[in-house]
Protein backbone atom coordinates (compact mmCIF):
# COMPACT_ATOMS: atom_id res chain seq x y z
CA UNK A 1 0.00 0.00 0.00
CA UNK A 2 2.85 2.39 0.83
CA UNK A 3 4.52 1.65 -2.51
CA UNK A 4 1.26 2.40 -4.32
CA UNK A 5 0.75 5.70 -2.49
CA UNK A 6 4.26 6.92 -3.28
CA UNK A 7 3.90 5.80 -6.90
CA UNK A 8 0.66 7.78 -7.13
CA UNK A 9 2.15 10.95 -5.71
CA UNK A 10 5.37 10.85 -7.72
CA UNK A 11 4.22 9.33 -11.03
CA UNK A 12 0.70 10.64 -11.23
CA UNK A 13 -2.81 9.47 -10.47
CA UNK A 14 -2.97 7.33 -13.61
CA UNK A 15 0.27 5.42 -12.99
CA UNK A 16 -0.48 1.81 -14.07
CA UNK A 17 2.15 0.45 -11.64
CA UNK A 18 0.06 1.85 -8.78
CA UNK A 19 -3.09 0.08 -10.03
CA UNK A 20 -1.24 -3.25 -9.97
CA UNK A 21 -0.34 -2.57 -6.32
CA UNK A 22 -3.93 -1.61 -5.40
CA UNK A 23 -5.38 -4.75 -6.99
CA UNK A 24 -2.88 -6.90 -5.10
CA UNK A 25 -3.76 -5.10 -1.86
CA UNK A 26 -7.48 -5.67 -2.48
CA UNK A 27 -7.00 -9.39 -2.94
CA UNK A 28 -4.80 -9.59 0.19
CA UNK A 29 -7.31 -7.55 2.22
CA UNK A 30 -10.07 -10.03 1.26
CA UNK A 31 -8.03 -13.09 2.09
CA UNK A 32 -6.77 -11.64 5.40
CA UNK A 33 -10.20 -10.22 6.30
CA UNK A 34 -8.83 -6.69 6.81
CA UNK A 35 -11.66 -4.21 6.10
CA UNK A 36 -9.52 -1.12 6.74
CA UNK A 37 -6.99 -2.29 4.20
CA UNK A 38 -9.80 -3.11 1.77
CA UNK A 39 -11.13 0.42 2.23
CA UNK A 40 -7.70 1.88 1.42
CA UNK A 41 -7.26 -0.36 -1.62
CA UNK A 42 -10.69 0.55 -3.00
CA UNK A 43 -10.13 4.25 -2.30
CA UNK A 44 -6.94 4.07 -4.30
CA UNK A 45 -8.66 2.17 -7.11
CA UNK A 46 -11.34 4.85 -7.11
CA UNK A 47 -8.67 7.54 -7.55
CA UNK A 48 -7.07 5.64 -10.42
CA UNK A 49 -10.48 5.10 -12.02
CA UNK A 50 -11.29 8.81 -11.73
CA UNK A 51 -8.38 9.51 -14.06
CA UNK A 52 -8.70 6.60 -16.45
CA UNK A 53 -12.25 5.19 -16.64
CA UNK A 54 -15.73 6.36 -17.49
CA UNK A 55 -17.21 8.13 -14.45
CA UNK A 56 -20.07 5.61 -14.26
CA UNK A 57 -17.44 2.94 -13.47
CA UNK A 58 -15.77 5.29 -10.97
CA UNK A 59 -19.14 5.82 -9.27
CA UNK A 60 -19.52 2.06 -8.77
CA UNK A 61 -16.19 1.96 -6.91
CA UNK A 62 -17.27 5.01 -4.87
CA UNK A 63 -20.42 3.15 -3.84
CA UNK A 64 -18.37 0.12 -2.77
CA UNK A 65 -16.17 2.38 -0.62
CA UNK A 66 -19.27 3.92 0.94
CA UNK A 67 -20.73 0.49 1.65
CA UNK A 68 -17.54 -0.67 3.44
CA UNK A 69 -17.43 2.55 5.47
CA UNK A 70 -21.06 2.08 6.54
CA UNK A 71 -20.45 -1.53 7.58
CA UNK A 72 -17.44 -0.53 9.68
CA UNK A 73 -19.33 2.38 11.27
CA UNK A 74 -16.04 4.28 11.48
CA UNK A 75 -16.11 8.11 11.28
CA UNK A 76 -12.75 8.26 9.46
CA UNK A 77 -13.97 5.89 6.77
CA UNK A 78 -17.32 7.66 6.48
CA UNK A 79 -15.61 11.01 5.96
CA UNK A 80 -13.36 9.48 3.29
CA UNK A 81 -16.37 7.90 1.58
CA UNK A 82 -18.24 11.21 1.60
CA UNK A 83 -15.21 12.88 0.04
CA UNK A 84 -15.14 10.25 -2.70
CA UNK A 85 -18.87 10.57 -3.41
CA UNK A 86 -18.67 14.39 -3.37
CA UNK A 87 -15.90 14.50 -5.94
CA UNK A 88 -17.31 11.82 -8.26
CA UNK A 89 -20.75 13.45 -8.27
CA UNK A 90 -19.17 16.85 -8.86
CA UNK A 91 -17.37 15.69 -11.99
CA UNK A 92 -20.58 13.98 -13.15
CA UNK A 93 -22.22 17.41 -12.93
CA UNK A 94 -24.54 16.58 -10.02
CA UNK A 95 -23.60 19.60 -7.91
CA UNK A 96 -26.47 19.28 -5.45
CA UNK A 97 -25.62 15.71 -4.40
CA UNK A 98 -21.92 16.58 -4.41
CA UNK A 99 -22.51 19.39 -1.95
CA UNK A 100 -24.61 17.18 0.34
CA UNK A 101 -21.80 14.65 0.68
CA UNK A 102 -19.09 17.32 1.08
CA UNK A 103 -21.12 18.91 3.88
CA UNK A 104 -21.66 15.54 5.59
CA UNK A 105 -17.91 14.90 5.45
CA UNK A 106 -17.23 18.31 6.97
CA UNK A 107 -19.79 17.69 9.72
CA UNK A 108 -17.88 14.59 10.79
CA UNK A 109 -14.58 16.46 10.66
CA UNK A 110 -15.88 19.46 12.63
CA UNK A 111 -17.49 17.16 15.24
CA UNK A 112 -13.97 16.20 16.33
CA UNK A 113 -14.78 12.49 15.95
CA UNK A 114 -11.58 11.93 13.99
CA UNK A 115 -8.46 11.68 16.08
CA UNK A 116 -6.28 9.82 13.62
CA UNK A 117 -6.35 9.86 9.81
CA UNK A 118 -6.50 6.75 7.65
CA UNK A 119 -3.54 6.62 5.25
CA UNK A 120 -4.66 8.61 2.18
CA UNK A 121 -2.98 10.49 -0.64
CA UNK A 122 -4.54 13.70 0.70
CA UNK A 123 -6.70 14.57 3.71
CA UNK A 124 -10.44 14.05 3.04
CA UNK A 125 -11.31 17.14 5.13
CA UNK A 126 -9.41 19.37 2.69
CA UNK A 127 -11.09 17.72 -0.27
CA UNK A 128 -14.51 18.14 1.32
CA UNK A 129 -13.77 21.84 1.86
CA UNK A 130 -12.69 22.17 -1.79
CA UNK A 131 -15.79 20.46 -3.21
CA UNK A 132 -18.00 22.43 -0.87
CA UNK A 133 -16.38 25.64 -2.17
CA UNK A 134 -16.75 24.52 -5.80
CA UNK A 135 -20.44 23.71 -5.41
CA UNK A 136 -21.05 26.96 -3.53
CA UNK A 137 -19.61 28.76 -6.54
CA UNK A 138 -22.01 26.93 -8.87
CA UNK A 139 -24.96 27.82 -6.65
CA UNK A 140 -23.99 31.49 -6.88
CA UNK A 141 -22.81 31.68 -3.27
CA UNK A 142 -19.58 33.40 -4.27
CA UNK A 143 -18.66 34.95 -0.90
CA UNK A 144 -19.19 31.60 0.90
CA UNK A 145 -17.14 29.87 -1.78
CA UNK A 146 -14.21 32.26 -1.20
CA UNK A 147 -14.40 31.75 2.57
CA UNK A 148 -14.55 27.97 2.25
CA UNK A 149 -11.64 27.65 -0.17
CA UNK A 150 -9.60 30.08 1.95
CA UNK A 151 -10.11 27.70 4.89
CA UNK A 152 -8.83 24.68 2.93
CA UNK A 153 -5.26 26.01 2.58
CA UNK A 154 -4.53 26.56 6.32
CA UNK A 155 -6.25 23.26 7.19
CA UNK A 156 -3.89 21.40 4.84
CA UNK A 157 -0.94 23.25 6.38
CA UNK A 158 -2.16 22.50 9.89
CA UNK A 159 -2.39 18.79 9.02
CA UNK A 160 1.08 19.09 7.46
CA UNK A 161 -0.41 17.33 4.42
CA UNK A 162 1.46 18.56 1.35
CA UNK A 163 -0.60 16.67 -1.27
CA UNK A 164 -3.74 18.14 0.34
CA UNK A 165 -2.14 21.57 0.23
CA UNK A 166 -1.49 21.06 -3.49
CA UNK A 167 -5.15 20.10 -3.98
CA UNK A 168 -6.32 23.19 -2.06
CA UNK A 169 -4.02 25.50 -4.04
CA UNK A 170 -5.15 23.91 -7.29
CA UNK A 171 -8.86 24.40 -6.60
CA UNK A 172 -8.30 27.88 -5.14
CA UNK A 173 -6.56 28.81 -8.40
CA UNK A 174 -9.40 27.24 -10.38
CA UNK A 175 -11.97 29.33 -8.49
CA UNK A 176 -9.86 32.47 -8.99
CA UNK A 177 -9.72 31.62 -12.70
CA UNK A 178 -13.48 31.22 -13.08
CA UNK A 179 -13.89 34.57 -11.32
CA UNK A 180 -11.41 36.18 -13.71
CA UNK A 181 -8.99 37.14 -10.91
CA UNK A 182 -5.73 36.86 -12.87
CA UNK A 183 -3.44 38.17 -10.09
CA UNK A 184 -4.79 35.58 -7.67
CA UNK A 185 -4.43 32.79 -10.24
CA UNK A 186 -0.81 33.80 -10.80
CA UNK A 187 -0.06 33.91 -7.06
CA UNK A 188 -1.68 30.54 -6.34
CA UNK A 189 -0.20 28.89 -9.43
CA UNK A 190 3.24 30.10 -8.42
CA UNK A 191 2.75 28.65 -4.90
CA UNK A 192 1.50 25.38 -6.38
CA UNK A 193 4.36 25.00 -8.84
CA UNK A 194 6.87 25.77 -6.10
CA UNK A 195 5.27 23.20 -3.79
CA UNK A 196 5.05 20.57 -6.53
CA UNK A 197 8.68 21.11 -7.48
CA UNK A 198 9.86 21.00 -3.85
CA UNK A 199 7.85 17.86 -3.10
CA UNK A 200 8.49 16.21 -6.47
CA UNK A 201 4.73 15.91 -7.11
CA UNK A 202 3.46 14.71 -10.45
CA UNK A 203 0.57 17.13 -9.79
CA UNK A 204 2.84 19.94 -10.97
CA UNK A 205 2.94 18.45 -14.45
CA UNK A 206 -0.82 18.31 -14.50
CA UNK A 207 -1.42 21.87 -13.42
CA UNK A 208 1.33 23.78 -15.24
CA UNK A 209 -0.26 23.73 -18.71
CA UNK A 210 -3.55 24.88 -17.18
CA UNK A 211 -2.08 27.94 -15.51
Amino acid sequence: MQAALYLTVTRGFAAPEARTCYERVESLAHSLNRPLLLYSALTSQWRYSLWTDKLSATMQIAERVYSIAQKQNDARLMMGAYRILASTLYFLGDFEASRQYAVRGLEIWRSGAIHRQVEEVSAPAVNCLCFNALTEWHFGEIACSRTTIAEAIPVAKELNDMPALAVALFFAAHLAHVEGNCAEVERLASDLIELATRQNFALGYLSEPFF
Binding site: K54, L55, S56, F91, L92, G93, F95, H138, G140, H177
Partner: protein, 110 residues
Protein backbone atom coordinates in the same frame (compact mmCIF):
# COMPACT_ATOMS: atom_id res chain seq x y z
CA UNK B 1 -9.79 17.17 -19.29
CA UNK B 2 -12.79 19.09 -20.74
CA UNK B 3 -12.01 21.99 -18.43
CA UNK B 4 -8.38 22.19 -19.57
CA UNK B 5 -9.46 22.00 -23.20
CA UNK B 6 -11.94 24.82 -22.59
CA UNK B 7 -9.10 26.91 -21.12
CA UNK B 8 -6.99 26.06 -24.17
CA UNK B 9 -9.80 27.13 -26.49
CA UNK B 10 -10.04 30.50 -24.68
CA UNK B 11 -6.31 31.05 -25.14
CA UNK B 12 -6.51 30.14 -28.84
CA UNK B 13 -9.40 32.53 -29.33
CA UNK B 14 -7.48 35.33 -27.62
CA UNK B 15 -4.64 34.65 -30.06
CA UNK B 16 -7.11 35.12 -32.96
CA UNK B 17 -7.00 31.40 -33.75
CA UNK B 18 -10.75 30.93 -33.43
CA UNK B 19 -11.12 27.93 -35.75
CA UNK B 20 -8.53 26.09 -33.64
CA UNK B 21 -10.47 27.19 -30.54
CA UNK B 22 -13.54 25.48 -31.98
CA UNK B 23 -11.48 22.34 -32.61
CA UNK B 24 -10.45 22.35 -28.94
CA UNK B 25 -14.13 22.56 -27.97
CA UNK B 26 -14.91 19.57 -30.21
CA UNK B 27 -12.06 17.68 -28.55
CA UNK B 28 -13.47 18.60 -25.13
CA UNK B 29 -16.93 17.35 -26.13
CA UNK B 30 -15.42 14.07 -27.29
CA UNK B 31 -13.70 13.81 -23.88
CA UNK B 32 -17.07 14.39 -22.18
CA UNK B 33 -18.56 11.54 -24.24
CA UNK B 34 -15.69 9.22 -23.34
CA UNK B 35 -15.53 9.98 -19.63
CA UNK B 36 -19.00 11.20 -18.66
CA UNK B 37 -17.33 14.22 -17.05
CA UNK B 38 -20.14 16.76 -17.41
CA UNK B 39 -19.31 19.43 -14.84
CA UNK B 40 -18.03 21.98 -17.41
CA UNK B 41 -20.43 21.00 -20.21
CA UNK B 42 -22.53 24.18 -20.08
CA UNK B 43 -19.38 26.25 -20.55
CA UNK B 44 -18.31 24.18 -23.57
CA UNK B 45 -21.59 25.02 -25.30
CA UNK B 46 -21.40 28.70 -24.32
CA UNK B 47 -17.83 28.96 -25.62
CA UNK B 48 -18.80 27.22 -28.84
CA UNK B 49 -21.51 29.85 -29.33
CA UNK B 50 -18.96 32.64 -28.65
CA UNK B 51 -16.50 31.23 -31.18
CA UNK B 52 -19.18 30.56 -33.81
CA UNK B 53 -20.38 34.15 -33.42
CA UNK B 54 -16.83 35.47 -33.80
CA UNK B 55 -16.49 33.46 -37.02
CA UNK B 56 -19.78 34.74 -38.42
CA UNK B 57 -21.59 31.38 -38.35
CA UNK B 58 -25.33 30.94 -38.91
CA UNK B 59 -27.54 32.52 -36.26
CA UNK B 60 -29.45 29.25 -35.72
CA UNK B 61 -26.24 27.41 -34.85
CA UNK B 62 -25.18 30.10 -32.39
CA UNK B 63 -28.59 30.29 -30.73
CA UNK B 64 -28.76 26.48 -30.43
CA UNK B 65 -25.41 26.44 -28.61
CA UNK B 66 -26.48 29.19 -26.21
CA UNK B 67 -29.79 27.42 -25.53
CA UNK B 68 -27.99 24.16 -24.83
CA UNK B 69 -25.59 25.92 -22.44
CA UNK B 70 -28.53 27.44 -20.55
CA UNK B 71 -30.44 24.13 -20.52
CA UNK B 72 -27.50 22.17 -19.09
CA UNK B 73 -26.70 24.84 -16.48
CA UNK B 74 -30.34 24.77 -15.33
CA UNK B 75 -30.44 20.98 -15.31
CA UNK B 76 -27.30 20.95 -13.13
CA UNK B 77 -28.67 23.82 -11.01
CA UNK B 78 -25.51 25.82 -11.66
CA UNK B 79 -26.68 29.38 -11.07
CA UNK B 80 -23.24 30.80 -11.96
CA UNK B 81 -22.98 29.01 -15.30
CA UNK B 82 -26.61 29.78 -16.13
CA UNK B 83 -26.00 33.50 -15.48
CA UNK B 84 -22.90 33.44 -17.68
CA UNK B 85 -24.70 31.73 -20.54
CA UNK B 86 -27.72 34.03 -20.29
CA UNK B 87 -25.57 37.18 -20.07
CA UNK B 88 -23.48 36.16 -23.07
CA UNK B 89 -26.59 35.28 -25.06
CA UNK B 90 -28.15 38.64 -24.15
CA UNK B 91 -24.96 40.42 -25.27
CA UNK B 92 -25.05 38.49 -28.56
CA UNK B 93 -28.65 39.58 -29.17
CA UNK B 94 -27.76 43.18 -28.24
CA UNK B 95 -24.88 43.29 -30.71
CA UNK B 96 -27.02 41.65 -33.39
CA UNK B 97 -29.83 44.15 -32.87
CA UNK B 98 -27.30 47.02 -33.05
CA UNK B 99 -26.10 45.76 -36.42
CA UNK B 100 -22.57 45.16 -35.08
CA UNK B 101 -22.27 41.75 -36.63
CA UNK B 102 -20.62 43.11 -39.77
CA UNK B 103 -17.58 43.95 -37.66
CA UNK B 104 -17.63 40.51 -36.01
CA UNK B 105 -19.18 39.74 -32.66
CA UNK B 106 -16.99 40.36 -29.60
CA UNK B 107 -18.55 38.38 -26.78
CA UNK B 108 -17.13 37.89 -23.29
CA UNK B 109 -15.06 34.76 -22.65
CA UNK B 110 -15.57 35.70 -18.99
Amino acid sequence: MPYFLAAKSEALNLANRTSEALEAIKEAEAAVERSGERWWCAELHRLRAVFLAAMGAEDAQIVASFCEAIRIAREQKSVSLEKRAEATYAEYRRQKASGLEGRGFRLPLW
